[in-house]
Amino acid sequence: MASVEFRSVTKSFGSFNAVSDVSFSIGDGEFVCLLGPSGCGKTTSLRMIAGLETPTLGQVLIGGQDVTHYHPKDRQISMVFQDYALYPHMNLADNIAYPLKVRGKSVSERHGRAREVADVLKIGHLLDRLPSQISGGQQQRTSLARALVYPSQVYLFDEPLSNLDAKLRLEARGFLNHLQRDMGMTAVYVTHDQAEAMALATRIAVMDQGRIVQYASPIEIYRLPATTFVANFVGNPPMNLVEVEASHGNGSLQLRADGLSIAPLPMTDVIGKALATSSKLTLGVRPEHLHIAQGSAPNTITAALFANENMGPESLVTVDRADAGRVTARIFTDDHLQLGETVTLAFSPEHVHLFNSKGDRIPAAGE
């Protein structure tokens, strides 16, 4: 196993920068997810680790060695592709053992090792089949087996679960999680599914428009999103963001918005700096931190009910603040609410996130 490091890496295609000046490092044995919407540069970053793209600027290091200009075959890495890339003319045994074949291993060693790995992945009984003769989940495990059949410095995953149906994806995710913790492998995993990233990663790099917006542990990304982009991308449903008008006096901060009632917050220097540029801030509250209250108490949002979706154990209650947008709450009670009825959603002040007018997080006092 080995570490991975990006040093000021930029990759441009023509005039378009797919990745702009990105630096980060992945420790030995870490499982890092690159998370972001399509076109954010996460796959390009992964392919630069694999050597399938060459950076326009900067260096890529694996195990402390500059591999920026190494051919993929010389990097001692494994990769699982989104479409699995199983060779249609080889049976599973030959597919899994192909990396050993190019390393010049004997047929008996190849097949022995392929069987070992296949048995671990519960596809040992399929080794004589062709890829076209097995199910999608089995194909996914075959491509995983091919990546595991030889020792690698880094394991790369390019949205490996995105072609599976929901149930299989959960199962495969759990298996990957177990495998990584068990083997302690260094892994880089690209996904656009925040739940997958939260479940698997030891650290998540959230990417947007070719840059890393936040690089932190899943729990930190969830608790302390660095920007409104991260706040909006992580969590299901995502964090509610409410535009507020701020003013301050006597060491406290007043926030105003339609339907919002909030007790004054303690004023800090950072807030003061933010207000110097603009009095418009963004207030964030996660849906799971809202509950239904009666009357108009402080720390509430009051608006007309727009939708009430029953999800089984919980309900998603959405209220419509007209031009000011909608707010959704995850409610664990079985309320019978009428459409259009006025609903009050309450939160406690410690669950409030504040972002400045550029969308950057304003740390709460004591953060």
Binding site: L52, P72, D83, A85, Y98
Partner: protein, 276 residues
Amino acid sequence: MKLTLSAFVGRIAFSALAALIGAAFALPLLWFLFAPFNARAELGLALPDPWTLSNFVTVFGNNFAVQALWNSLIQSVGGVILVGAAATLAAYALSRSSLPGKGAVTYILLLFSSVVSGSAAMVPIFLIVSAAGLIDTHLAVILTFAGGLLPTAMFILRDFIDSIPKSYEESAMVAGASPVQAFFDVALPVIRPGIVVVVVWSFVNIWGSFLIPFILLRSDDQMPASVAIYSFYSEAGTPIVTLLAAYSLIYSLPVIVLYLFVSWKFGFRFFGGIKA
């Protein structure tokens, strides 16, 4: 939904019309179903009495006819090997390398290949082959067809390779394969159906061609079957109909077999393209 009377009549009329057109297309070919098996065949349509294979025996006893079939085979196979190999390499490069100007190359080739037809370029082709000292050789026909068929063959194959995910070769290289290993172990087997299509298409084109061998070859021992058949019915005064009928059928057989093979194997039709 109920089937109205007029719709029903319409159906019948459509079927009748389609059958009629089919019959019209069949008429000129009907003769070929009977004459080869009729020892006394003439140009008229007649049921063989009795059905016999004696005409085929005559064909295989005719040295010129057998030699011409053999020549057709040499020229077709030679051309096909060249087209298949060169088109595969070139199409792979057009699809997978980031060579600058490959788009322009593609455009220019496409343009030239449709402009320079065999019937427009017969004079310069003859002069070039002549300058190379290849007149009246198999190689002349092989090379001319290889050049003429290559652009189209390259485009068919390039489109085919473009439709194959790059992740095949990428996964091989990540797993440790060199570009050469990735090409032979992974890319080539996956491209093979496309190569088969191109090879069959080229074979049928060369096998059936007339004009190019007609102008590039002179002696009887180089003539392919197409030119032999033409000389059988155009120069010999009264054609030997029995021989011609059986010979034409034998000569057509590879084309029919290949057509059936391709439509069975791939389920699509590709005969067409630009004729050299």
